[in-house]
Structures are given as structure tokens and as C-alpha cells.
């Protein structure tokens, strides 16, 4: 089985985010990029399928800072082929542009299953999976937490609100938006990633001119304006504990 996993790097939300001087985008100078957590689950799900039924796993990402680490880490987990997309990424850093190009490249690879994160926190023009499926003429199911393969069919567990699961069948080839792998993304030792840097190869594919049709243009980016922020207790743990005790008593929970 041929599994393709398109993944992307996103700003680490643990770091402070700031807006660029034009006021229309994040200031990339200070951004630390990490793998989109749902994409990390998509990689894990692909490796789990490889272990269960046998598969050739290709991980694809765009050439931004941190991509080599991301790809070598995927190889250390068990990915067979690593691809980074190079070219003018500034021109259209949106999912509509990327989906069109990914479709062009992935079509040639004759995939059986495409697994990608159900969304990324910085998506502004929808997530990549459904658009990719649209270009490739494949069915798409998102919010997937669990994938089983039998022959030409796949059974997935689709999440609905309130913990309800829809067990769904799809015929292959198909695209799935992964919410969570069946088990947490595995840890790999740095030494193993370093070893991959020496032994595995990252192929470079050139992107053609990106077409951003369908993606919105941001006119202003800002931090949320809040009507009323929390009233802050002490940041000293002893004092804060005392204040919380008083609060709990006041609220009748103690």
C-alpha cells in the first residue's frame, strides 16, 4: 500500500506571537516553527498502518526552516521516502495554492491512502485535506481517529461532538483528515534522527508558480480585543493558594 502524508510546520503557540509592521501577518522573524500536531498524528497513523498491513510511506513538506528535522524525524519513525517542496513559498502561503501543487505532484505517485492533519491552527482558507481530495477526485473523510485497512476498503472512526463516533467505510484511493492516531505519536531518540541525517535522502521537488485563487487576503491581523480579562490573583503560589481558598469558600465549593 502506498501512503502519502503531506505535513506542514506551524508557529509554536508556546512562544509569544507578534504581528508584522504591516499589520497583516505574523512576524516571522521571531517565530519558532514546529510540526502541526495533527500532521504528527497523521505520520504516526501511517507508520502504524505500515506495521499492521505493510506500506510504503512518503512524507512531504514545504521547504521552510525546520523541515529537514521534521522529515528526518519521520524517517526515524519509519517513513520510507522524504520529499521537500522548494520554490517561491512567500507568493502564496495558503492551502488553496499548496493543494493544487500537491495534487499535481501526488497524482504521479499513484497513492492508495493520503493521510494529513485534519487542520492546522493557522489555516485561514480551510484545511488542506478536502481541497487535495477535490483536486484528485478522491473521497475525503475528516476528524478521523483510527484507520483499518482490508483489501480495497478502509474503515475509519470519525469523531462527532459529545464523544460520538461514526464508523465509516471508504473505497481507495481516499484522503483522510487525521484528528488523532490510534496511539500517541512515538518518541524517537535524537541519536536515531542524527543517524537518518547520514543515511537517508531528502528529495527536492520544485513547485510551479503557486495559484492562490480561492484564498482570502488578510487586511488586518491583531490580538483578540477582550471585553473583560480575568481578574488576576497573586503570582506567588502561597498567596494564590490562600486567595483560591477564599474564592472556593465564597463560591460554596469548600
Amino acid at each position: 500500500m502506498n501512503i502519502i502524508v503531506p505535513v506542514k510546520l506551524v508557529p509554536d503557540l508556546v512562544e509569544e506571537l507578534s504581528i508584522d509592521p504591516a499589520g497583516t501577518a505574523l512576524d516571522t522573524a521571531w517565530l519558532r516553527m514546529i510540526v502541526n500536531e495533527f500532521d504528527d498524528h497523521a505520520i504516526e497513523q501511517a507508520i502504524l498502518l505500515k506495521e499492521k498491513v505493510g506500506a510504503h510511506v512518503t512524507v512531504i513538506s514545504t521547504n521552510i526552516e525546520g523541515v529537514d528535522d521534521l522529515l528526518f524525524t519521520a524517517a526515524a519513525k519509519g517513513a520510507d521516502r522524504l520529499i521537500k517542496l522548494t520554490g517561491d513559498l512567500e507568493a502564496g502561503n495558503n492551502n488553496h495554492a499548496l493543494a493544487g501543487e500537491l495534487a499535481r505532484i501526488i497524482r504521479e505517485m499513484n497513492p492508495d491512502v493520503i493521510l494529513t492533519g485534519v487542520q492546522a491552527h493557522n489555516d485561514l482558507d480551510g484545511s488542506i485535506g478536502p481541497q487535495l481530495a477535490g483536486h484528485l477526485g478522491m473521497p475525503y473523510i475528516g476528524y478521523v481517529a483510527g484507520v483499518d485497512v482490508s483489501g480495497d476498503n478502509v474503515i475509519v472512526r470519525k469523531e462527532y461532538p459529545g464523544g460520538l463516533i461514526g464508523e465509516m467505510q471508504a473505497s481507495l484511493p481516499a484522503v483522510f483528515g487525521i484528528q488523532a492516531a490510534e496511539q500517541p505519536p512515538r518518541y524517537v531518540a535524537i541519536s536515531k534522527v542524527r543517524q537518518m541525517m547520514k543515511t537517508s535522502n531528502i528529495e527536492e521537488f520544485d513547485l510551479a508558480a503557486l495559484d492562490s485563487t480561492g484564498a482570502p487576503v488578510v487586511t488586518r491581523m491583531f490580538q483578540p480585543e477582550v471585553a473583560e480579562r480575568a481578574s488576576m490573583l497573586s503570582d506567588n503560589p502561597d498567596e494564590a493558594a490562600g486567595q483560591l481558598i477564599s474564592l472556593f469558600k465564597e463560591l460554596g465549593t469548600l
Binding site: 485535506g129 473521497p139 475528516g142 469523531e159 471508504a170 500517541p184 480561492g214 487576503v217 494564590a240 463560591l251
Partner: protein
């Protein structure tokens, strides 16, 4: 193209999802500036009565056995055909397990722009999305032509999406579905846990900030001391540190406790939408910019690993 605002209604097992009413309320707001109608688009089997309380000028209803339950292909095909025929100004989908499955495909299929994570409209034609885990807002001008959006809750009161006046129902023909490649096999009920977190008055919630499984015991000891129950946000459950029955958020439970103590939870929109019904939210997070402080009534940036053991001890002392 006309100036109408279409709302792709979501329902699950006979119940209209809250996001549908949020979208109807938003559509009413937007339709005032576009001077168009609010049109609810309902797909299903024998569910026309669900539309009786919609605050809409018109309901377009597609009835077919294969639309009874959500099927991404059948829903996408039907909605694309309706959108293509009517060419409304805006079509609103939920930023949900249903809406997100189909809006992107329709955008590609019909060549229409798509804006996601939309929270509200402003000044008539500005669309505001909330991204980056709730930390950043992005404002876009509503593009020319028919535009698709996926909406998150938060800015519009779902009650305003309801009305006592029954809207006009217009049935539309549904074309045949040949060769569908996806189908629902069955629903699997949520696993019931030892406790029902939706009924607990005091919840001690842990998020990514709890760091590892061993630290869950800190929250459990606190819960035991004060008489509360531990619940969690998505990352904690995905790691397998707590069972799904303890999950609070979009795919988990919506809770309304008297007190919600959030430990190391950043406050991403998919978590926040499930806790806004709480009487009092108290947030503990070392990141003073965490969005959780925007909805909490009280907060502290004290480190939970320092604070929680002290708090637990003091509660034990107070009780003995």
C-alpha cells in the same frame, strides 16, 4: 449572483447542532448589510420539521434516504448543486466534523473562495477569523462573488438563530447518487466513564501544561481534597493519560459546572466553546498571554507545580 446568505444546517441523529443556530444568527446580522434573505439549507430524510424553529426567510430542503446521515460525498454533491444553482452571496458551514469535510471540496469543485474559522462579521463586509489557538484574529474583506465560510461559535447567541415563526419550506430535487465511495456503517456510542463530567459541579481540568502522566496525580489529589472531579483537554486524552470520558471540548463533553479550575490549559477555541457555560472559570497558566485568561473570571500565572500541592495541603488543613 444574489445577496442571500445560505446556511448549511448541521444535524446529528435527529437533533439540530448548536452551531446551526449560531450560523443563522450570524446570517441574520450579515443579511442586514447585504440586504438579502437568510436561507437555511437542510439535507436529510424526513426531517423537515427540524426547520420549524429556524430564524430564516426560507428553507431549502433536500430529502433523500442517502442524506439521512452525514455522508461527505452525498452532502457535498447536493450542496454544490444547490450553491451553483442559486449563487448566494455567502454560504456558511460549521467549522466542524461535518462542515469542514465538505466546504473545502466545494471550494475546489466550484472555484469559490473559502474563509475558515470565522467568528464574526463587522462593518458589513469584513470577515473576522480566530486562528492560532485563539491567540490571533485575522480580518479579511468579503471576496467578490459567492464566498464559502466555516464558522466557529462564540460571537453570536444561538437563541437568536431561533424563531417562533415557521419559515417557508422549498423542497429541491435531489439528483441520483451513483457510485458513492463512502458510507456510514454504524454509530458507536461514547464510552461511559465512572463519572459523568457534565453533571459535576466542580471540575479540575488539566491541559498540556501538566506535562506528563505522573503529574495527573497532582490534579487528582486536589480533586479528592476539595471534592471535585478531574477532566482534561484534548492533548491529555490523546496521550492516553486520561480516558475519553473525561474529555472536555469539541469532540468531547460540553460542561457547565459551578467552578471550572483550568490547570495548564491555553484556551484554544475548540476547548473554550465547551466550557463557556461554567458559572466561574479560574485559570492557572504561566503564560500571561494564554487566551484562557480572556474568558476566565479569575486567574493566576503561578506555576501549577508550585501552586497545586500547596493548595491541596491548605484545603486538607481547612477541612480537618
Amino acid at each position: 449572483m444574489n445577496q442571500d446568505i445560505f446556511v448549511a444546517i448541521e444535524h446529528l441523529r435527529g437533533k439540530v447542532s448548536d452551531i446551526s443556530y449560531v450560523m443563522l444568527a450570524a446570517a441574520r446580522d450579515l443579511a442586514q448589510s447585504t440586504r438579502g434573505k437568510v436561507v437555511a439549507v437542510l439535507l436529510g430524510r424526513g426531517v423537515q420539521d427540524l426547520a420549524n424553529n429556524f430564524n430564516a426567510d426560507q428553507v431549502v430542503y433536500a430529502d433523500h434516504p442517502l442524506l439521512a446521515d452525514f455522508n461527505p460525498e452525498a452532502y457535498q454533491k447536493t450542496l454544490a448543486s444547490i450553491i451553483n444553482q442559486h449563487k448566494p452571496r455567502v454560504v456558511s458551514f460549521g467549522h466542524t466534523s461535518i462542515g469542514m469535510d465538505i466546504a473545502g471540496g466545494i471550494s475546489v469543485q466550484l472555484g469559490l473562495p473559502l474563509i475558515s474559522s470565522v467568528r464574526n462579521f463587522s462593518s458589513g463586509s469584513k470577515v473576522i477569523s480566530q486562528i492560532c489557538g485563539g491567540k490571533i484574529m485575522a480580518e479579511c474583506d468579503l471576496p467578490e462573488g459567492t464566498t464559502l465560510i466555516t464558522m466557529i461559535p462564540g460571537a453570536y447567541n444561538p437563541e437568536l438563530g431561533q424563531s417562533t415563526q415557521i419559515p417557508t419550506l422549498t423542497p429541491v430535487p435531489v439528483s441520483a447518487f451513483e457510485g458513492l465511495r463512502t458510507m456510514l456503517i454504524q454509530y458507536i456510542e461514547p464510552e461511559s466513564g465512572d463519572v459523568d463530567i457534565t453533571k459535576e459541579p466542580l471540575l479540575i481540568a488539566v491541559g498540556r501544561g501538566i506535562q506528563n502522566q505522573d503529574n495527573i496525580s497532582l490534579a487528582e489529589e486536589l480533586a479528592q481534597a476539595i471534592g471535585g472531579v478531574v477532566c482534561a483537554s484534548r492533548p491529555v486524552v490523546d496521550q492516553g493519560w486520561l480516558p475519553t470520558s473525561r474529555l472536555v471540548g469539541k469532540s468531547g463533553s460540553t460542561v457547565k459546572p459551578k467552578v471550572y479550575l483550568a490547570l495548564g490549559i491555553s484556551g484554544a477555541p475548540e476547548h473554550v466553546e465547551a466550557i463557556t457555560g461554567s458559572d466561574v472559570i479560574i485559570a492557572v497558566n504561566t503564560d500571561s498571554a494564554a487566551p484562557i485568561f480572556n474568558i476566565a473570571k479569575y486567574g493566576t500565572t503561578a506555576d501549577l507545580f508550585d501552586l497545586v500541592p500547596i493548595l491541596t495541603q491548605q484545603i486538607r488543613n481547612a477541612k480537618s
